[in-house]
Symmetry: C2
Subunit: 164 residues, 2 copies
Amino acid sequence: MGDLTGEGPVLHPDVVPLAFLLGSWTGEGEGTYPTVSRFSYREEVNFGHVGKPFLTYSQQTWSLEDGRPLHSEVGFWRAVPAGRVELVLAHPTGVAEIEEGTLAGPSLELTTRAIGLSSTAKEVTALSRSLRVEGDTLYYTLQMGAVGQPAQQHLRAELRRAGR
Amino acid sequence: MGDLTGEGPVLHPDVVPLAFLLGSWTGEGEGTYPTVSRFSYREEVNFGHVGKPFLTYSQQTWSLEDGRPLHSEVGFWRAVPAGRVELVLAHPTGVAEIEEGTLAGPSLELTTRAIGLSSTAKEVTALSRSLRVEGDTLYYTLQMGAVGQPAQQHLRAELRRAGR
């Protein structure tokens, strides 16, 4: 992401409440869904900033079984007044989405605001996530409604901060 | 973007028609819109791949006047059958969008399929772009409808391939 993850600029005051996310995170997670077999993955997540009122974000997972790349997502976390957060994401599966929610200390709860699907994307109707940082450990869960299934738990992972 | 831009994997056959985009591109562009003064920018664009049927994409612009970061966008270019292309993008302005269109040789014409806006985003109603590569030069124009203005030319740039 080139300059997007450089740490040269001063952190914008609006994103100071999100500073606990900054850095590179690695760890493992597991996924479940009625339409697929349970799977385990390795994950790398990067939060950076460019001095503007948002964090840059990229994520990648790989199969723990054979190392092949699984999912990835990229986008931006926008800090807005009154403890609100807006997450703007692109997925290579043909999904563009916005989640919004609230920040309470080092915990975030986000739910679907908008989902756009490309012509060939699988149907996704809901995406929400909970994220919490304790020291250098990040825990998240992701709930998804997709391919005719109601919104339900899909992913859960625990990551460790590898660097800032 | 870490492994997302690694060139280790073999290019997926579906994205061979988009291989002319791969690499890092730098150059300059200019922007116009009824609601802002004409502005000039420096730009860096990166197209990569991970061996799956899409290209990874990140873009950043900086003011030519004072070097401050201006826009950025990140996402994925999906090659789909019959010369169709789907572009999935996240913008830090609170816009998540999908554009779709056709590939003809090294030229792409994409128009709005879906636009999602966060609660605090400015209104954007249409985004389309034309992109063409001649050797190691990339030309693009972007048309936008926003903040009550009809869709119209907004950006034009010429970039040179700095590396693959």
